[in-house]
Amino acid sequence: MTSALLEIEDLVAGYGYGDILRGSTLRVEPSCITCVIGPNGAGKSTLLKVVSGLLKPRRGSVRLGGDEIGGRSPKEILRRGVVHVPQDRSLFPSMSVWQNVLMGGYILRDRNEVHRRIEQVVEQFPIVKEMRNAKAGSLSGGQQRIVEFARAMMLDPILVLLDEPSLGLDPRSRKLVFETAVSLCDGGRSVLMVEQNARSGLAVSRFGAVMELGVVRLTGNAVDLLGDPEVGRLYLGASAAHHRRPPHIEHVRS
């Protein structure tokens, strides 16, 4: 077995009094997309926050290429090549597209390096050049997502964390965003993605994981999860066209 890019083990974390993550374990393999699905409040976004250092773990470990990064500062984790594209629109709306993308290289000291990087980013994301002077806030939701991806690429990361990239997007932009997510994996890079649009998310991923109540319940090839009738029944939902009530999932009341 090859070694994983990211190994999360028995992770416990939360806000305030309660724990949201209650012993989550997950491996992320190199050069592919791993998609995390699960009910609202399962801890998917919290998991990404711990990996990128925005939230400190209370227990457990996060190893990147064998090195422990759990509890390190976001800046340090960023330096090691992990970038986080959060759930809500995160561009600075009154700054230009170009300035927003430059901000992705904020921690780079070397100005030449910044210019070299943005040239490469523009090659992959022509929209950055085409709309360079437009205010980011004036772009459509889908375009903003693509610019967020472009910004994330400024550090040439080895792992990109995407929190619900398709959120609030129209069908066309959604397709484009998923295609772009796939293209992020070029050159050995990995993507750890959280998606509520579970079927579409799994469809573009190699691996899938189902989270519930703060633990990873199931992992496997995305294709297998998509084809598993039990997973379909419990987590993917009937298509809205059949309007039967899904069988009740046993929830722990605590």
Binding site: G18, G38, G41, S140, K175, L234, H251
Partner: protein, 243 residues
């Protein structure tokens, strides 16, 4: 018969951008209407003007024939028009249960003085159970995840028993299983005669649920009609669905 909602030549400009450009459509009482269109086509702006959260630059909105445009949101709300937001607006520092209680219009903040009667308490718990929020009832709403806050807001709106309901992307960020629950709740409201306008990008949801669709593009009504007609319209395929 007077339509439940009439939107006439509604216009709004933000700086140099015309978000809503003489937009007109009407919604019959009891109808379930889907408002669709590309990102940036003005759907939320129209909803904001209808609910009174944004003041239009021109045009009018009538609720059961009564002009409500340009008035503060409390006016349409008292007349029975309730809405949800794309990014849920809940009271973050009070508990999930209390959020449900304050949403009963006759109570409002008075629950702090009066307390809550048994039916309201039961109704709140029932809805929280439906949306799998029961175990979070005593947690401050601000601690819920993004998707859970959307579910809470939807449940809160159901507490108010509105006559006209506007939903802004109710399924965005919500787990597929709970979308099924939401569909069921919306169907129930529709059966009870509530007039509903829903902005959504989830086409499966829209097509199976709505009896009538209004498609916006660049702030104007591109076309409207029953779902199967709209779905195959060249204009819509080109502007929105993609071929």
């Amino acid at each position: 018969m007077t339509p439940a909602l009439e939107v006439e030549s509604l216009t709004k400009r933000f700086g140099g951008i015309t978000a809503s450009d003489a937009c007109s459509f009407s919604v019959e009482e009891g109808q379930l209407t889907g408002l669709i269109g590309p990102n940036g086509s003005g759907k939320t702006t129209v909803l904001n003007m209808v609910s009174g959260h944004v003041r239009p630059d021109g045009g009018s909105v009538r609720l059961y024939g009564r002009r409500i445009s340009g008035k503060s949101p409390t006016v349409p709300y008292r007349l029975g028009l309730a809405r949800t937001f794309q990014r849920a607006r809940v009271f973050p520092s009070v508990t999930v249960r209390q959020n449900m209680h304050v949403s009963v219009p006759t109570y409002g903040l008075n629950i702090l003085k009066w307390g809550v009667d048994g039916t309201v308490r039961e109704r709140a718990l029932e809805l929280l159970e439906d949306f799998r929020l029961y175990r979070m009832a005593d947690v401050p709403a601000g601690e819920l995840s993004y998707g859970q806050q959307k579910l809470l807001e939807f449940a809160m709106v159901l507490m108010s028993r509105p006559k006209v309901l506007l939903l802004d992307e109710p399924t965005a960020g919500v787990n597929p299983i709970l979308i099924d629950t939401m569909v069921e709740q919306i169907r129930r409201l529709h059966d009870e005669g509530v007039t509903i306008v829903v902005v959504e990008h989830n086409m499966e949801f829209v097509m199976s649920l709505c009896g009538h669709l209004v498609v916006l593009n660049h702030g104007q009504v591109l076309c409207e009609g029953p779902p199967d007609e709209v779905q195959t319209s060249e204009l819509v395929l080109d502007a929105y669905l993609g071929s």
